[in-house]
């Protein structure tokens, strides 16, 4: 079984532990004094790039419909680039409405003739097979994910791909046990239209496909425009597993393809992960139909640090919360709420820790922060963080050299942020942390809940009763206490309010795929 481990955030191991006692007055000397280590020079790392040779990229890809790839080059296409180098990786087909129709029809045939009639224990075996092949080809998947998405290989290797395998492994086990899940029914819905984002391309695929197939549905999945490659590799894995044709169909494309898929009358279920704006449009598009919908949308999580929290662990959690995956995380801890009495100490440690973060080549095994996924996203991050300056917050980023090609943004914090600032209200979806302070637990709750979102929250404190009280008060679907950004197939994930509806993971995740 895969281990679910986010190495940037492992509590207990902490880059700055050795000097943590010297915070406070001596803090300034810690950074510039002659005896202090300068992390930028003292910890010089040799490059440790993961080899790309393991990935066999084709120059162009067709769509995966009814168990086969369509011929590439038919119809329009688009290029997918490596965000770290802007190198074109491959040409990918843009699925038209006719392509989507063909995929939905293939899924319907597979549903009617094969998949819905197959005993659960046989469906389970296909899913176990897929889990195993994902494990076998994990290195290849991780490298391709980092290439196409820009995330550090350390994360794709240690977080994304192991979770993908575990997701299939977990839901495989449910396929022949649905009658024990205590759900409304054990009957599948039919054909599921699934539209996923670019931040965790393969992991989001697994979150969508595994429960759908376990419950007996067939799927048409559209990966994000900028990150289609691992989904296409997953199509090959389906072939290797001898998954019956049409059970999984992958159509690549952009917004128009997604719209055609969601609106297709042959679809019984829509599952979407992405922005609240698109989620809202999907909810409107399916209004008045019989289609069932689950939406996993944006967030603006508060990561709340109390004065009794162990500072070094909290700082690791803050770093993991906002800089994991370049901050391209819907549940990112993008608002730090720190108790006023320890704000100075926490910020001092946080800045020192941030100075040790390594930004650069996603395929380098020592990289902490990779490339921003696209030029568009980089522009959005610039635009929103500029409003932080304009509205009077104070920006700080460690000195770090960014590569000259590709899309990059340094890890950044804003202090002096108020609840009215746009950077405290809107999802930046990048490595930008807004810092606010509070005095009492009640104030922390009020500020944390003062958002239209409600996906996740973090609490750092040594006091058990306070943690449980906070967890009870926070209006968020996932509360991480003394940890952050943990994911597991057995653990339900999803939001309150405008962060969407429905849960993915665990027994709850099956509910979205049965009648």
């Amino acid at each position: 079984m895969a281990e679910n481990k986010v190495s940037t955030g492992s509590t207990g191991e902490s880059g700055s532990t050795g000097e943590s006692g010297s915070t406070g007055e001596s803090g300034t000397t810690g950074e510039s004094g002659t005896h202090a280590l300068d992390a930028r020079t003292a910890f010089e790392y040799a490059p440790a790039p993961e080899s790309r040779a393991v990935v066999d990229l084709r120059s162009s890809y067709g769509l995966f419909i009814d168990g086969e790839f369509t011929a590439p080059g038919a119809g329009s296409s688009f290029k997918t680039v490596s965000p770290a180098t802007e190198e074109v990786l491959a040409e990918v087909t843009e699925a038209s409405a006719e392509d989507v129709d063909a995929a939905v029809k293939a899924a319907r045939r597979a549903y009617d003739k094969v998949w819905s009639r197959m005993p659960g224990r046989e469906r389970a075996k296909y899913l176990y097979r897929i889990a195993r092949i994902v494990q076998e080809r994990s290195r290849e998947l991780a490298v391709l994910e980092s290439l196409d998405n820009g995330k550090p290989i350390r994360e794709s290797r240690d977080v994304d791909v192991p979770l993908v395998a575990s997701w299939f492994f977990y839901y495989a086990g449910w396929a022949d046990k649905l009658e024990y899940a205590g759900l409304r029914s054990t009957q599948p819905l039919g054909v599921a239209a699934q539209v996923i984002p670019w931040n965790f391309p393969l992991m989001m695929l697994a979150w969508k496909i595994a429960p759908a197939l376990a419950a007996g549905n067939t799927v048409v999945l559209k990966p994000a425009e900028t990150t289609p490659l691992t989904a296409l590799l997953f199509a090959e894995i389906c072939q290797q597993a001898d998954l019956p044709p049409g059970v999984v169909n992958i159509v690549t494309g952009a917004g128009e393809t997604g719209k055609a898929l969601v609106a297709h009358p042959g679809v019984d279920k829509v599952a979407f992960t992405g922005s609240t704006e698109v989620g809202r449009a999907i909810a409107k598009a399916v209004a008045g139909t019989e289609k069932r919908v689950t939406l996993e949308l944006g967030g603006k999580a508060a990561n709340i640090v109390f004065d009794d929290a162990p500072v070094d662990q909290a700082v690791e959690g803050i770093v993991n919360g906002i800089f994991f995956n370049q901050g391209h995380v819907c549940c990112a801890g993008s608002r730090l709420l720190v108790q006023e009495s320890v704000a100075e100490e926490v910020l001092h440690s946080l800045k020192r820790r941030m100075a040790t973060l390594r930004v650069g080549d996603p395929l380098d095994k020592n990289t902490d922060i990779g490339a921003i996924n696209s030029r568009d996203q980089l522009e959005k991050i610039h635009e929103l963080s500029d409003t932080g300056d304009a509205e009077g917050a104070e920006r700080w980023a460690p000195q770090c050299e960014l590569p000259s090609t590709g899309f990059w943004f340094p890890p950044t914090i804003f202090t002096g942020v108020t609840q009215a600032h746009r950077i405290a209200r809107e999802e930046i979806f990048g490595p930008v942390l807004s810092v606010l302070t509070f005095r009492t637990p009640a104030e922390a709750v009020e500020k944390a809940n003062n958002t239209p979102f409600g996906l996740s929250a973090g609490v750092w404190s040594d006091k058990g009763s306070r943690i449980l009280w906070m967890a009870d008060q926070l209006r968020a679907g996932v509360v991480w206490a003394n940890t952050f950004n943990r994911f597991d197939p057995a653990s339900p994930f999803g939001g309150y309010k405008e962060s969407g509806y429905g849960r993915e993971g665990g027994r709850h995740g099956l509910e979205a795929y049965v009648r």
Binding site: T276, A283, L297, G454, V478, A481, P492
Partner: protein, 288 residues
Amino acid sequence: MSERLEVRKTYKLYVGGAFPRSESGRSYEVTDAKGKFLANASQASRKDGRDAVGAARKAFGGWSTRTPYNRGQVLYRVAEVLEGRRAQFVEEVSASEGLSRSKAETSVDAATDRLVWYAGWADKLAQVVGGANPVAGPYFNFSLPDPTGVVAILAPQDSSLLGLVSTIAPAIVSGNTTVVVSSYQRPLPAITLSEVMATSDVPGGVVNILTGDAAEIGPWLASHMDVNALDLAGIEDADLVRDLEVAAAENLKRVLRPAPGTDWTAQPGLERMTAFLETKTVWHPIGI
């Protein structure tokens, strides 16, 4: 000696624990199934709807943090008080729905029993829909249900009491607060039910009942940004269902779609409760 003249009841709205008339000053004539005049009911306006949402939001913090045991007792108390008014409800349901006395009795009794059934769920639901999650790591991880918030209920049009109770009880038992638009043609049992609520330890604002036209008030509730969920049980017009769902999408309200032909006498499942619940998952590391 002359026969005593009965004292008629003024049927008003129920908002925030009080019984106001519609701020619009409007009323409409309510008749029995045969067309005989029964009463003038208040015709709620969109402003009444907004007032009711405000009252429901204000009541949410208190109601949702009551212990489940306490909420169960309050719901049971509602059943007790409803039972005490059995004769009155039988009369109103019989007149409103055109039922024989014995059928009306069956329907009222079913409504009472439905409340008792839901009352018992208050302190059991979390164990049935929540639990510990066996994650692959040194973490204690559990999921619990949490009420969604303010639920707007467009109550069934035909089943004036049983349908009404069957939509309100599952929403409030878990800690939600509600704004209810009653059956338009058959509003009298709804207002009498609000008198039951007012005398059953249900805090003011937890259940707000408006009489009037769901097609008129519904769109304002569906688009209200402080409403978290929408129950469309009483909407039959497919176009209106779509429009309400579109409006509800603006702040991603949870929408429970209507199921035409629902048999309100049938044993309900968990769905009407789980439709208005969030699942909250809490993680904490295990270590020494």
